[in-house]
Symmetry: D2
Subunit: 289 residues, 4 copies
């Protein structure tokens, strides 16, 4: 029941680096993701209360490299189980997402992150007129993967398309082919600018974060500077000494206002973390699959 013309959006966060208690990142920052679920400043809507989810890889290889996911339809801000878990679980790589539904049902299977094998996926944005494109998109998913689609979101179908197009071997290529298919089907079905996305993907080792939209006006996406860079700028902050140089956070919306920490990812580009001392984002261009 949004006001006419309002677009509803999600917010997400990906962490990669030294094993960290989830709540240090999810709850404690000044403008934490949990706060953003209630007071998002940069989103089209202030509230993201249509569910949330986290996915995390265990430092001690519990799950054999497969991440755990915890998803719930209730708003993140009053979820006690999330708070408890976040205060007791440490992880070197985790995803968190708060949802504002763009139309599909509010149910656990429509909450992000989505998981397939060792892969995690989350998305902010939408496929315009998804109902017009939905059947063809689903049909393009590898028949062997089709039964894994449990929910009714565009985000989940995008994930299984990426898996179909070779996520296991080439993440940027697979995502580019998925985007290319959406663009092509959009044209075929009279939806000229079908795709709006910031996406995070991980295999438990690295995180890829993409920012792209058909109209070149994408949802916001920021990545933190490497921890050693931030340490230089803010020697007064103690906890920075405890984390590795390659520790990074990628977010829809910055967690705070510290100078020099947050870098905006440009339109039509992607980053991979962890990375070397030079962060280069790379161009992202849809490919025809």
């Amino acid at each position: 029941m949004p006001r006419k013309g309002m677009v509803r959006m999600c917010r997400w966060l990906a962490y990669s680096g030294s094993p960290m208690l989830l709540d240090a990142v999810l709850y404690r920052p000044e403008h934490s993701l949990i706060n953003q679920s209630l007071y998002a400043r940069m989103g089209a809507e202030a509230t993201n209360g249509d569910g949330f989810g986290i996915g995390w890889y265990s430092a001690d290889r519990a799950g054999n490299g497969t991440p755990a996911i915890f998803r719930d339809v209730a708003p993140a801000w009053n979820n006690r189980n999330l708070r408890e878990l976040a205060a007791h679980v440490r992880s070197p790589l985790f995803f968190a997402h708060v949802r504002a539904s763009t139309g599909s049902a509010v149910q656990q299977t429509n909450c992000h992150p989505f998981r397939h094998g060792r892969w995690l996926w989350m998305h902010n944005g939408a496929i315009a007129d998804f109902q017009r494109l939905q059947r063809d998109l689903c049909m393009a998913v590898d028949p062997a993967l089709f039964p894994f689609i449990e929910g009714s979101t565009d985000s989940e179908v995008m994930f299984y398309l990426a898996v179909t197009y070779g996520l296991d071997q080439d993440v940027p290529g697979a995502v580019a082919r998925m985007a290319g298919l959406v663009e092509r089907l959009g044209k075929e079905h009279g939806v000229p600018e079908p795709l709006q996305m910031t996406v995070a993907v991980s295999d438990g080792e690295r995180v890829w974060a993409f920012r792209y939209s058909s109209q070149g006006a994408s949802r916001t996406l920021f990545y933190s500077s490497r921890a050693d860079t931030v340490r230089h700028l803010h020697p007064e902050i103690d906890y920075l000494r405890e984390i590795s140089d390659e520790t990074r956070i990628v977010v829809s919306e910055p967690l705070g206002d510290l100078h020099g920490v947050w870098n905006e990812l440009p339109e039509a580009s992607y980053v991979v973390v962890p990375s070397g001392p030079e962060t280069d984002y790379l161009p992202f261009v849809p490919e025809l699959p």
Copy 2:
């Protein structure tokens, strides 16, 4: 986590007749549906706690002939909202279903009854190896209807196939064609006996109830004798005088032990209520669509 070899089943009830408070039928009988959700005797499993749902048509045409549905993933037996609603809502035609999942997620969109326009649909049973047949079944659904599939159950896909095959014009024919498709696809995919079903369908005026399975060993289904018949047999029961002659209940499992009330629907047949003084069940045979 059922024991090896155990099949899990649902239980349902359809009421048609004099406007009745839902709880008179759902809660008060000796072996009511709510009790069956906890103590089903005839099902393969005693407990049906993976969700429930009700659908009802309003006596005063609220909803313009479209039924209301109320579905929840929590067990029926401890759901207060259901109890409240049932004590205050009167309806001349309603469906109720308690679910024991055959594998798909426990979520609201996987609870029965399903609704499309003025139609309600519920199902007890399963399509064997559904994951193997799922894609082809979904593809056979009318493309215009495909986006309406919200969940991940076989039951819901069966419904949209029936709508695709002409539920609006010919209920038994549409259901027969749906069954025929399932049988055919089963053979094609090496699933020789794919279909197990008792199904109830309604348009708010009549209720059709089907009992069929590929192997001829279907879940139980009973329909009550007409109220005037029961009145004859049990003159001592006062409330029978308050209900119309055509009042009927169709159930997976009888609500009590009163003699002469419950008639078993034979294998491969269906009934329609309300009906005349002679209840004839009719044969049900899958058709090739």
Copy 3:
């Protein structure tokens, strides 16, 4: 996790008059209560997503004069069951409340309205430092009523205190004695301005609405002019012709901007509806019980 200094608030609505489909009042107005759950303008917080509840009396005396309640911890704006129910249930008198927790758990038993016998109760506001006063307040509840307290809110305890102080015989007096006890205990425990409240109470025949706070700066409360008055001002609005002259709505926040419809209830006063052509609010003064 509100921002420092932010007070979180609820929003409620009471309807009394011609039997009305709940959704005509809950969903359709320009700034309906459901919209307010997402975009409240007058509350301290924009979002009221910590649960909601409705209570309604049946036109046909289902429940024997006892109202039905439907309460859920999920936000109102995405609750399908509520939407369904609202589109199919007609009532001459109903309550609706969307909650923003002031600290206590988000659970069904902490959602309003509360019910006891034929009485409904809902509240916007809080008892300051409730934890300090809670035990003494609970001990002042009639021992026979103590076991009926199911949740952990100040609102529910206020209700059972009002019942203890004679709600059955004298609503304003009982509420005044409840408020007087809170004020007295506040002083005893070093909480000088303990009470903040707008409260609605009903027995299924009339609705009493109170506005009071210790510091004289209470949450907003508005009541609609009588329907015949509004008809005069807005002859262009058709549906006004279908409702009785005494039809009224009392709200935390107006449902729209129509001129002449909404009247603010002054500090320290109460109204009763239905009422005669002259609406007189009456003064509300806490009494020592």
Copy 4:
């Protein structure tokens, strides 16, 4: 809605020993607690679907010695979040409980285990006619602790009474005084045999398990033999070599049928684990507080 005369019961499990993935204990055994939530053999009722909860202490001192709790009203057997968590969380000491309500609301705050500071508490059983004794029991709780009571169960009040009576200094004594109070109040209020309990308590270092009832016919309670004893009896079981000698499980109902593993705790006694090579249970006698 149990059948007349049926008593509904819970089931619980406490683990203490080598850090263990929760699911190794909660899901994998032949008759695991999760299976017991569906197929309990020894309980008065087969199904324990009115909620569940786990509490665990972190091996790495996350939480500073305070345990995490995860509680939900949905049945344990279909809860995905629980399954995920259990597959990824390792703990040297944890509690798990599946609930069959004895009357109070099904809500998160009524699920066990309860926590206060570093203490965890869970209970199977009931206080007979609790509503008659509830007010006096609540009044005996230390006023400073009264606001911590969030739910409406007898179990939670028993916990806060034990805390009131010195749980921090003397666990058996505090529990004995709590039991003594219940017995005394029972007599005063005409409830001759008020208490039925198996209780587990932990401070993160040790687990105390009690079995007692007024009538001397208590719910079942078993504790496993020390791991070194079990290793002797079952040299063929590999995983036993990976766990410490003092590793123990205390359960309402055995997790399997292995010979020599499960020892029944007698009426009116308690055990403490970890313990030395000789397991001595000790007598438990209520004391007047």
